[in-house]
């Protein structure tokens, strides 16, 4: 059963066509990796799927519900959560406060204004459980600024997980990480339950091949090829795009 | 009869619009280029008209007074930029507060020196006649102001699109960092633009003196109208300021005739309508709002 369906999405940006007729089908439980050289439109596709950028044409559905055209905050309501390529955290808040905000986002009481936050014990317990599970419990009182880069990257992931998503979009989860941190993050992705479907943008080919069930190659805003890892690994044209001289000059949009 | 009085109101509105254009053009470029919302811009208008008033009162003649007054305001602009604003570039809110404080100081100084009763600047003798416009007698001076405004618009358009200075300014509005990458001394560009903006506001003040008169509080009125024009026209464009100024000038003038209490409300509604349709203003570039 396909969980995420992207159909014929077009997107132009300042007169530049960034996405051309992109279609994508992600099955429930799948680990789907999106690769492609810089400027291929991978992050733009994420923005378009979550509604952060409006799309010009096409339809995005999650679990049969159309979400394209809806405001970006509704993405979480259909079980979709995302992380960012560059850490996008509440830098002046503590780890715990970051997580509280993330968890409360999906609670029916998020609009309540007469009872202090700390009296919602379910929220505190959930946060504690997540922090312990992810080895950040000791650091819970630290302000984000004081965390190491790797810890911040982890928190980035944790905020997305807090909404208990069915579909998790990860934008280069290992970018900027040391080899050890990359290995740890890869293990985390591998160990995630299959109830969470992953769509990952990744550049590190070792990471790509150690998690992917299916790989889609994006090139110049178009789906170049989509297939099982072996197919992609064996394809000469993909190697040409990725490693050959064909890398475009403009930066990732 | 109705049409000719309407024509007269529209001409009046155009004259007022041209005065607003001179202020809004400076405000818009300063905002677009330096990212400064200059709330002291109305004070430059005030300084222009009051200085000219004192000079005219000392029998200096309208035109020499105009030149001297505009020059003084330009120098004032340089001083404000060099001494005060330069220290807080890049800190948006502090700039707003600084210029806000300055606008109080200037306005109160003016009240202190010239008193709070309304004054007017006499119309220069050569233009103190009426012209026959479509069967109605219309003051030549206002036609003159409209012409000056249009000339200025053409001049600014020419500078913006055909000269190196214009290219620098356009580049600066789009990407400030590019200027320094191109080896251009930003500080000089900023100071010059601020001085030009101040001079334009001063010019508007002197030219507006015979039409609008001068009183305490006119600086705020003019400033708010100009801010609305900047929002409506889009920041950083002289074209936007020109079109916006004509629209606001005419609507304001017609409003004063037909619904005196709700003039500002009409102007405001136009702004809201434009914002809802085009968040960056009619001719705005880039993503701002």
């Amino acid at each position: 059963m396909s969980l995420l369906k992207v159909e014929r999405v077009h997107k132009s940006y300042n007169g530049l066509q960034v996405l051309k007729n992109v279609s994508l089908d992600v099955q429930a439980g799948e680990r789907h990796v999106l690769i492609g050289p810089n400027g291929a439109g991978k992050t733009t596709l994420f923005h378009c799927m979550t509604g952060t950028l409006p799309i010009d044409e096409g339809v995005v559905t999650v679990n049969g519900r159309q979400i394209s055209g809806l405001p970006p905050y509704t993405a979480v309501r259909v079980g979709m959560a995302r992380t960012f390529q560059k850490n996008n955290l509440f830098d002046n808040l503590t780890v715990e406060e970051n997580l509280h905000l993330a968890i409360a986002a999906c609670k029916p009481y998020r609009f309540h204004f007469f009872k202090p936050f700390y009296k919602y014990t379910d929220l505190l317990e959930e946060a504690e459980q997540l922090l312990k599970q992810w080895d950040l419990w000791e650091r819970r009182a630290c302000v984000v600024n004081q965390l190491s880069y790797g810890e911040q990257r982890l928190l980035e992931l944790l905020l997305a997980l807090a909404s208990k998503p069915r579909l998790l979009l990860l934008d280069e989860p290992t970018s900027g990480m040391s080899p050890a941190e990359t290995a740890q993050t890869t293990r985390l992705m591998q160990s995630m339950p299959r109830s969470i479907t992953l769509l990952v943008i990744e550049h590190d080919m070792d990471v790509v091949f150690s998690i992917a069930d299916r790989i889609t190659v994006l090139h110049h805003g178009e789906v170049f090829l989509s297939g099982a890892p072996e197919e992609i690994r064996g394809d000469e044209r993909v190697k040409e795009i990725y490693f050959g001289g064909g890398a475009p000059l403009y930066a990732e949009a | 009869m109705v049409t000719s009085s309407l024509l007269m109101h529209i001409l009046n509105g155009l004259a007022y619009g041209m005065l607003l254009f001179m202020i809004a053009a400076g405000l818009s470029i300063i905002f677009g280029l330096m990212n400064v919302v200059n709330l002291a811009h109305g004070a430059f208008y005030l300084a222009g008209v009051y200085i000219a008033y004192s000079l005219v009162a000392r029998h200096m003649g309208f035109w020499p007074s105009l030149l001297v007054s505009v020059a003084v305001v330009a120098i004032l602009g340089v001083l404000v930029e060099k001494w005060l604003l330069e220290r807080v570039y890049g800190r948006e809110l502090e700039q707003v507060l600084l210029t806000f404080g300055l606008s109080f100081i200037f306005a109160d100084l003016v009240e202190w020196i010239w008193g709070s009763s309304p004054l007017t600047l006499p119309v220069p003798e050569a233009l103190d006649v009426s012209l026959n416009v479509g069967g109605m007698m219309f003051p030549a001076y206002r036609i003159f102001v409209i012409l000056v405004g249009c000339l200025l618009a053409v001049l600014l358009w020419y500078i913006e699109s055909k000269t190196r200075i214009g290219a620098i300014i356009r580049a600066g509005v789009d990407d400030r960092e590019m200027l320094s990458a191109l080896g251009i001394n930003i500080n000089v560009v900023f100071t010059c633009m601020f001085a030009v903006g101040a001079a334009l506001a001063g010019l508007s003040g002197v030219l507006g003196g015979p039409i609008m008169g001068m009183y305490v509080g006119i600086d705020a009125e003019i400033l708010v109208s100009s801010l609305v024009i900047v929002v409506v026209g889009g920041l950083g464009t002289w074209k936007g300021a020109f079109i916006g100024a004509i629209v606001i000038g005419v609507v304001d003038t017609l409003g004063r005739v037909w619904f005196p209490s709700f003039t500002m409300a009409m102007v405001f509604l136009i702004m809201i309508a434009v914002l809802l349709m085009k968040p960056n203003g009619l001719f705005g570039r880039g993503a701002a709002a």
Binding site: T52, A104 | L102, V224
Partner: protein
Amino acid sequence: MKKETVALHVAFVAATMLLPLILTSYGLKLTSEVLIIAMFVMSLGLIIGFAGLVSLGHAAFFGIGAYTVALISEHVDNTWLLLIAAVVTAGIVAFLSGLMFIRSSGAYFLMITLAFGQMLYAIAYKMEGVTGGADGKAVSESFNLGFGAIESRLAFYYVAAAAFLACYYLLRVFLSSPLGKGVRGIKENESRMTALGYNTHLYKLTVYSLSGMMAGFAGALYAYFNQYISPDLLHWMFSGQALIMVIVGGVGTLLGPAIGAGFFVILQNYISSYTERWPIIMGLLFVCLVLYGRGGVIHLASLVWSHLQSKRRTGREKSVLPKEGSGFESLKG
């Protein structure tokens, strides 16, 4: 809550309630004014410090509250009804205007709110038949909550103090609630809040409306207190003064803006008795504040404060200076 915190709050409330014991009649009047203005400035501090919405037209809501009382009191004399009418009117106007403004941010928000405030000012100024125009209007109705007319300065002080404390604690509860935390999260990082699933516009609109209601409430009390209203209550100069009070007192703190209000109202009273050039002095304060930075301001404020204290009794016993690091950086966003 910890024991010390409880003790601190009890002391705070008690100090407010016992203050009249050491105040002269003039001091009572001045302190009542401080408390009313403090509520207004606190409402502005709420949107600036906690939602990152820097408005230069907040006096609009204060003025709406005051005008509502002044205009309706000609027909209705029930104080409760008038207060509610003022709060509701200000709230509705804040909600509707917020609906349009909140899409924009930064300098645009500032310019639009400024224009909005000046629009209301112009209407109040020009609709002489209704609002009394530039001359304003007298408010002759007395303040009566059902226990007889409150006319003495002492009684009105207690009304103002109770209202102030109510607003303060209401805001405290609000800011610690899920909604309040959400608002702070938006100021910290709006794009992340959206990605987490928060409808950030709705949060901003809610806090903006709440702020408008509180400003309207303060304005309504002010109409009773001053027994006279004029378009100046809507003017951008008043909005600007409130903004500077917030900044002097401390952005991102609740009580800071109230202290800023106290500082300015007392300073204005003091200076106005010597010179009519208050706008120049205030303008200079703006400029100095900006040029000599945060630490400097607080330092400056404490210097002036101690000077004032030594010259005459100002009536405020404790001067709680704002926390460090609550200056301009926290306004960005």
